[in-house]
Amino acid sequence: MSKEKPFPEYRRKLGPGWWLANSHFTQYMIREWTSFFVAVFSLIYIYELSLFASGARADALNLLKNPGVIAFNVLALLFTLYHAFTWFYLIGKVQPIKMGKTTSKPWQALLVNIVLLLIVSFAVIEILVLR
């Protein structure tokens, strides 16, 4: 028997708009986009630090107060929190903890991680910023 396929098969390619096809894909893409915001935030942050380091304190403070930068930071924070929460939930799904006969639910992991995040953030602000 010949190995050759008698007729061509039709191959479909994933179009650039695939992530709009369903809401789960869109949510996934939003999560992926956080990396863009984190990257830009880091670049701005490094630039601010370099201004401080080179003694241009006034410029650094002006940049910090810039409404555009503040708006961007708020947006980046929202994206990062969204990313963090989806991951916290997934941690609970992937690694449920067994306690006797019951097993932890993903939302419990989400809750515990949010509390931990608040405690750590508060500690960092207390120790590094307000001290």
Binding site: F7, P8, E9, Y10, R11, R12, L14, W18, W19, A21, N22, H24, F25, Y28, E32, L90, K93, V94, Q95
Partner: protein
């Protein structure tokens, strides 16, 4: 019982004639207990004998009737027509797979992946039959039970954009099945399966879209299997780093 009329919009692709697929509409009378597969069978028997699609058991067991129904990968034998009342029901071949004819896709890639992960119990040394079966506790069974429910319907692949972008990706069902054996207390084939699931196009290609687990008709959670396999691989690598002599077994 009263009958309504459903409009079924089916993808047609006749490779000997058509350069690319197109849609064809059929009007199908239906009752409340009829599913999309019944509509396809009605079309084939009464309206157009050239329509081609796969099916066998009609009860969600064989996994052969998968198609994209209204844009979502589903078993056509488990999708009731009345759920789409008033809407044209689009039935398309499973996404990401090459189309052979109408709703029939080429499954070769998936079949190769299934064989690749060696879906059977591997023993270093088989014990003689007189010694009886390899026994297992209820807890040990629970560790992999859900992953053994897979019916190889490929809906999860159709739902996975990572597979859509990179055909080499081992993908959801094959990994779920690999994990099913990795977690089986009777199996001793970790050393054989680990390199397969952890190669570049193995589990690490997964970016956690999670849609595979949403569409699975058998309650299998392939996304979970993939993440658990990642964790096993990472702990294994760590162990062999800390204890180079046999730590990462």
């Amino acid at each position: 019982m009263s009958q309504d009329i459903a409009t079924i919009r089916v993808t047609r692709y006749r490779p000997e004639k058509d350069g690319k697929p197109y849609f064809q509409d059929y009007k199908v009378p239906y009752r409340k207990d009829m599913v999309v597969l019944d509509a396809l069978n009605y079309i084939k028997a009464n309206l157009d004998g050239t329509l081609t699609y796969r099916w066998s058991c009609r009860m969600g067991v064989c996994g052969s009737c998968g198609a994209n129904v209204d844009g979502v990968p589903k078993l056509t034998c488990a999708s009731f027509l009345h759920e789409f009342k008033g809407r044209t029901i689009k039935v398309e071949p499973l996404t990401h797979f090459p189309v052979i004819k109408d709703l029939v896709v080429n499954m070769d890639d998936f079949m190769h992946k299934l064989v690749e992960i060696k879906p059977w119990i591997i023993r270093e040394k088989e014990s003689p039959p007189e010694e009886g079966e390899y026994r297992q506790s209820a807890e040990e069974l629970e560790r992999y039970d859900q992953f053994s429910s897979c019916i190889n319907c490929m809906l999860c692949y159709s739902a996975c954009p990572v597979y859509g972008l990179n055909e080499k990706f081992l993908g959801p069902a094959a990994t779920a099945l690999a994990y099913r054996y990795i977690e089986d207390s009777r199996d001793q084939g970790k050393a054989v399966r680990f390199p397969i699931v952890h190669e570049i196009e193995g589990v690490w290609e997964c970016t956690l879209v999670g849609e595979c687990s949403v569409v699975c008709p058998k309650g299998v959670d392939p996304m979970l299997a993939i993440q658990k396999t990642k964790i096993l691989g990472a702990t294994n690598a760590l162990k062999s780093l800390v204890m180079p002599r046999g730590g990462g077994k």
